[in-house]
Amino acid sequence: MPDFKSPIAHGPVSAPDGVVRVEDETATAKIVVRAGSDSSAAADLSVPFGQSRLRADGTLVCGTRPDEWTLFAAVDRAAEVAASVDTEGFVSVVDITHGRAMMRVSGPKATAVLAKVCNIDLADDMTPDGAVFSGSVANVTCDLLRSDRAGDPSYLISCERSFGNYLFAALVDASTEFGAGLPAGLSIH
């Protein structure tokens, strides 16, 4: 596997009281599976569009679009996870690990931060823990997954790799209202 290099040049940024934290999670294996509804791959993944499920082997399966799934796992498992999908029938499996940036916004104020730059309804009844959805975040088309941690809201956001540094800066900029500091050299302008 090629050496992994994140497009995001900064480490985690947190508010002093911990109400929000923005961190780079690009170093995650990301496998996109497109499969016809009558294929065995679709039956095996079996996660409906808009939902997610953590498999026993630690792979997170997300129903990102109709007949399309994204699989997240530890970065060194990319080839193993891709090979685990049954490609019999109308199925494509693509490793996009290096093509997408991914970051996590978490903490009690994570929803308030994300709501500033995303027009999706983030209320608990519309996007509960485990919800998978796509939309515009700071004018970047992103795939989002709500994956709560320790009872606090947490969102995994992935976008095209080239937008990663900008999106990270935009999320940190949105967090400054809640006390996070914008590190030197990080700017959305």
């Binding site: 569009f49 679009r65 027009n119 796509s134 939309g135 515009s136 088309t141």
Partner: protein, 82 residues
């Protein structure tokens, strides 16, 4: 803001979608006259009232779907996958 109901993603701001214009039946290329083909490519009814349109959910499910939209009031009904 216009709220468009995507059949997969639910209600979305129209800025998340791309309008693709009136739904026009495609003539058979092997039998259509030049006039019929030009009409299909370039001419639209553009009524002040109800029209069937195709939209593309570019920020969400990336699927095309059709809606009925009143161009005078922006009232929208009956979204469905084509």
């Amino acid at each position: 803001m216009i709220v468009v109901n995507c059949p997969n993603c639910g209600p979305r701001n129209s800025s998340d979608l791309r309008p693709c214009g009136e739904l026009t039946p495609r003539p058979d290329p092997s039998t259509a006259s030049l006039s019929e083909w030009r009409t299909y490519l370039y001419l639209r009814e553009n009524p002040a009232g109800w029209v069937t349109e195709t939209w593309y959910c570019r920020n969400g499910c990336r699927r095309y779907f059709t809606i009925q939209r009143n161009t005078a009031t922006n009232e929208i009904r009956d979204s469905e996958a084509p």
